[in-house]
C-alpha cells in the first residue's frame, strides 16, 4: 500500500476487470465468449479476494439476469460478452432500463452477424448497443480508445449507471480487449466513485418509483433485504412499482425514463477534441479507430493538411453538439468505422448539412489503418 501510482503493462480486458473492481463492482456473472473471456477469468480470480463473487452462468441470458438480481441487493454488478452473447442479453437489458436497475454490460465487439469472425475486431454493434432491446429506453454507451482509458472509463460506466439507475453498455473492440499497453493505475483515493442514492424515508413512506423523492428524474433505490419491501416489474408501473396500463401513467413513465438521456447528457459525454481549434477538416472516430485517426491527423498536418480529431468515448447519448460545432467550421468530417457505416448517419444528422460527411468503412476483419484515413483526408 502506498499512494504512488503504479505503472503496469496490462491487457485491455484485464484493465476492464480491474477498473470495474476499483469502481466497487462486487458481482460478476458471465458466460465465456471470445474475445471477452479474459474479463471473466480475471474476475473469477480477483473478485473473491475482495469479498466479491463471481459466477459462470449457464448462458448469457442467465448472466445478465443474475447481475440485475445482485444489483437489487445493493451490489455493483457487471457482465461481459461479445456479439452472439450480446444479442442474447438484449431482453433483460430492457428490464434493467424499465425497472431502473444499475448494471454494466461489457461487449467486446467481434465480427458479426452470427458467429462471424470470432477472433477479429469490429465496431458493428454500436446501433445494437443503443437500440438492441425492444421499446424506447435509456442506455448510455461508452467506448474506450486505449487500455489505460479502459481502466478509467469503466469506472465512469459504473458511476453513470449508479447515478442514473440505467444499464450502461461498455463497448470495447477485439483490438482494445486484447492489446497490451502501459497503464498508470490511479490510486484508489484518486478515483471519483459514485454510489446510487438510497431512500432516507421510513420504509412505510417509500414509493420506489417516485422520482420526486429524488431529483425529479431518478428515484432513490432501496436494497433488497433492508425492510423496504417493495415490488419491481418489467411491466409499466406506477410510483408504487405496481403494474399499470393507465395511459397517463404509462406515458409519464416512458417519458421520464427517456428523459434520463437528455438530463444525463452533459455529465456522461466524453469527447476529446484533438487539434480541432484551427482544423478545416475533421475525423470523427471511436474505439481503436480513434488511434488510427490520431495518427492520420498528425501525418496530415505534417503534409500541410489542417486536420483535427473528435475522439469520441461516449457514443450514446450521441454527442451532437460537438459534431454540430465542428461541422460549422470544417470542409468535411471523415468518419472511419469498422462496419458498413453506422454512426456516420448520426454524424450526418448532427451536421445539419453544414459540411460534407464522408464514410470510411472496413469489414474485412482488420482494423482501419492510419493510411486509409490519411488518404481520405488528402483527397477531400
Amino acid at each position: 500500500m502506498g499512494n504512488k501510482t503504479s505503472i503496469r503493462l496490462m491487457q485491455g480486458n484485464e484493465a476492464c476487470a480491474e477498473g470495474a473492481v476499483a469502481a466497487g463492482m462486487r458481482f460478476f456473472a458471465g458466460y465465456p465468449i471470445t474475445p471477452s473471456t479474459e474479463i471473466a477469468e480475471e474476475l473469477a480470480f480477483i473478485l473473491p479476494k475482495v469479498g466479491g463473487k463471481f459466477i459462470q452462468m449457464e448462458d448469457e441470458i442467465a448472466s445478465i439476469s443474475a447481475i440485475i438480481g445482485a444489483s437489487l441487493t445493493g451490489a455493483k454488478s457487471m457482465t461481459a460478452t461479445s456479439g452472439p452473447g450480446f444479442s442474447l442479453k438484449q431482453e433483460s437489458i430492457g428490464f434493467a432500463a424499465i425497472a431502473e436497475v444499475p448494471c454494466v454490460i461489457v461487449n467486446v465487439m467481434r465480427v458479426g452477424p452470427s458467429t462471424g469472425v470470432p477472433t477479429a475486431p469490429s465496431q458493428a454493434d454500436v446501433m445494437q448497443a443503443r437500440w438492441g432491446t425492444h421499446g424506447d429506453h435509456p442506455v448510455v454507451v461508452l467506448c474506450p480508445t486505449s487500455v489505460a482509458e479502459t481502466y478509467t472509463l469503466i469506472v465512469e460506466a459504473f458511476n453513470i449507471s449508479e447515478r442514473w439507475r440505467i444499464p450502461v453498455i461498455f463497448l470495447m473492440d477485439e483490438v482494445i480487449g486484447h492489446m497490451r499497453e502501459k497503464v498508470a493505475i490511479p490510486d484508489p483515493g484518486e478515483l471519483n466513485i459514485v454510489n446510487r442514492a438510497r431512500p432516507r424515508c421510513k420504509p412505510e413512506d417509500y414509493l420506489p418509483f417516485d422520482a420526486d423523492a429524488g431529483d425529479g428524474v431518478v428515484p432513490p433505490m432501496a436494497d433488497f433485504g433492508t425492510g423496504y419491501r417493495y415490488h419491481l416489474t418489467g411491466l409499466t408501473h406506477d410510483r408504487t412499482g405496481f403494474p399499470t396500463t393507465k395511459r397517463p401513467e404509462v406515458d409519464a413513465l416512458i417519458r421520464r425514463l427517456d428523459s434520463k438521456m437528455d438530463k444525463a447528457k452533459q455529465e456522461v459525454t466524453f469527447v476529446d477534441e484533438v487539434l480541432t481549434e484551427d482544423a478545416d477538416i475533421a475525423v470523427f472516430a471511436y474505439g481503436i479507430t480513434a488511434r488510427a485517426g490520431a495518427r492520420a491527423v498528425r501525418d496530415a498536418r505534417a503534409s500541410g493538411v489542417s486536420a483535427g480529431l473528435l475522439k469520441v468515448k461516449t457514443l450514446w447519448p450521441f454527442p451532437e453538439e460537438h459534431v454540430e460545432r465542428i461541422a460549422s467550421k470544417v470542409r468535411a468530417i471523415v468518419v472511419p468505422e469498422m462496419n458498413m457505416g453506422q454512426l456516420v448517419r448520426e454524424v450526418e444528422r448532427a451536421s445539419k448539412g453544414k459540411t460534407k460527411v464522408i464514410s470510411l468503412t472496413r469489414v474485412d476483419a482488420e482494423p482501419i489503418s492510419p493510411q486509409q484515413i490519411l488518404s481520405a483526408l488528402k483527397e477531400v
Binding site: R26, F27, A29, F45, P48, K49, G51, K53, I55, M57, E58, D59, I61, A62, S63, S65, A66, I67, I68, G69, A70, S71, L72, T73, G74, A75, S77, E91, S92, F95, F224, G225, T226, G227, Y228, R229, Y230, H231, L232, T233, G234, L235, F242, P243
Partner: protein, 277 residues
C-alpha cells in the same frame, strides 16, 4: 406454531388480483403463505421472485421484497440475489411454461448448483396468460389452442428431472390438497439447498373448458381422484396407477449448498493474498 392472518403477508391495496374465478393459483399462493407463516419467517428477510405468466403475477400481491422478472429467468435473477445476500429466504414462484420451457435450462442448473432457493412451480399444464397454448406439462392427447388435434408430446416428470439434476428436495402437491401442500412447501423452504415443489393447479378458463372439464370444481375433483400418496400407490396395481400421479415428498438428500461452498473460494482467495504479503 405461529398463525398470523394471511392478510399479514398481502399487499391488500393491490387487490383485486388478476386471476379468473376458479383459478388454482390463489390456492397455491395461500399454501405458500401458510408455509411461510408456519416457519415464522421475518417479512423483511423474504424475497419472492417470479417470471412471466398468470402464476408469476403472485409476488405483486405479497408484502415482501418482490421481483417480477422476464419470462423464464426468475431463477437466474434469484441466483444473483441469493449470492449477494445469502441470508435472505429466496423463493421463486412461476408457471409450468415459465420454469419447464423457456426457463428449463435455468431450472436444471439451479438444481445442479444446489443453491438455496425454494421454487414452487404452479403447474396448470397450460400457458394460461397467453390463452391456452400447450406447455411442456400438457398431457398427451389433451387439447390446446396450439394442439387443435390433440397434443402429441409427452410431458416432463418435473420432480424426477429436478432431482436428477441435483436438487436437495423435490415434492408434489395439488391445489385440492392445500393443507398438505402447505406442509410440503414449508419443508422445502426449511431445506438447505435447492428445493422444488410442483403444485398441480387448475386453469378452468383455458385448460378446463377445452378439455371437457366444465369448471374449477370438476378440475379439483380430478386432482382429488388422480393424486395418490406414495403409500397409497404401493397398494395399487400398475393398471390402477396408469392415470395417477404421486404427491408428497419425493426426494431429499443432503448436499453442500452453493453459497456456502462459495465461502470456501473466498477463504482460499484471501488466504493466497495473505501469503503474497
Amino acid at each position: 406454531m405461529a398463525r398470523k392472518p394471511i392478510t399479514y403477508y398481502l399487499r391488500e391495496d393491490k387487490m383485486p388480483h388478476i386471476w379468473c374465478e376458479g383459478c388454482g393459483h390463489g390456492i397455491v399462493l395461500s399454501a405458500v403463505l401458510r408455509a411461510i407463516d408456519s416457519l415464522n419467517l421475518d417479512k423483511n428477510n423474504v424475497c419472492v421472485v417470479s417470471g412471466i405468466g398468470c402464476a408469476s403475477r403472485a409476488p405483486g400481491y405479497l408484502d415482501f421484497d418482490t421481483l417480477h422478472t422476464t419470462h423464464g429467468r426468475a431463477l437466474a435473477f434469484a441466483t444473483g440475489i441469493k449470492m449477494m445476500k445469502p441470508n435472505l429466504d429466496v423463493i421463486v414462484l412461476a408457471g409450468d411454461g415459465d420454469l419447464a420451457a423457456i426457463g428449463g435450462n435455468h431450472l436444471i442448473h439451479a438444481a445442479r448448483r444446489n443453491i438455496d432457493i425454494t421454487t414452487i412451480c404452479f403447474n396448470n399444464s397450460i400457458y394460461g396468460m397467453t390463452s391456452g397454448q400447450y406447455s411442456p406439462m400438457t398431457p398427451t392427447g389433451k387439447m390446446a389452442t396450439t394442439a387443435p388435434y390433440g397434443h402429441i408430446e409427452e410431458p416432463f416428470d418435473l420432480c424426477e428431472l429436478v432431482f436428477a439434476a441435483g436438487a436437495s428436495f423435490v415434492g408434489r402437491g395439488t391445489a385440492y390438497h392445500a393443507a398438505p401442500l402447505s406442509r410440503l412447501i414449508a419443508k422445502a423452504i426449511a431445506q438447505d439447498g435447492f428445493a422444488f415443489v410442483e403444485a398441480v393447479s387448475q386453469c378452468p378458463t383455458y385448460f378446463g373448458r377445452r378439455n371437457k372439464m366444465r369448471n374449477a370444481l370438476v378440475m379439483l375433483d380430478w386432482q382429488k381422484e388422480h393424486a395418490v400418496t406414495k403409500k397409497a400407490a404401493s397398494r395399487l396395481s400398475p393398471d390402477e396407477l396408469e392415470d395417477k400421479f404421486i404427491i408428497g415428498e419425493l426426494g431429499t438428500r443432503a448436499r453442500p449448498e452453493y453459497t456456502k461452498r462459495y465461502e470456501s473460494i473466498i477463504e482460499a482467495a484471501t488466504k493466497e493474498t495473505d501469503d503474497d504479503v
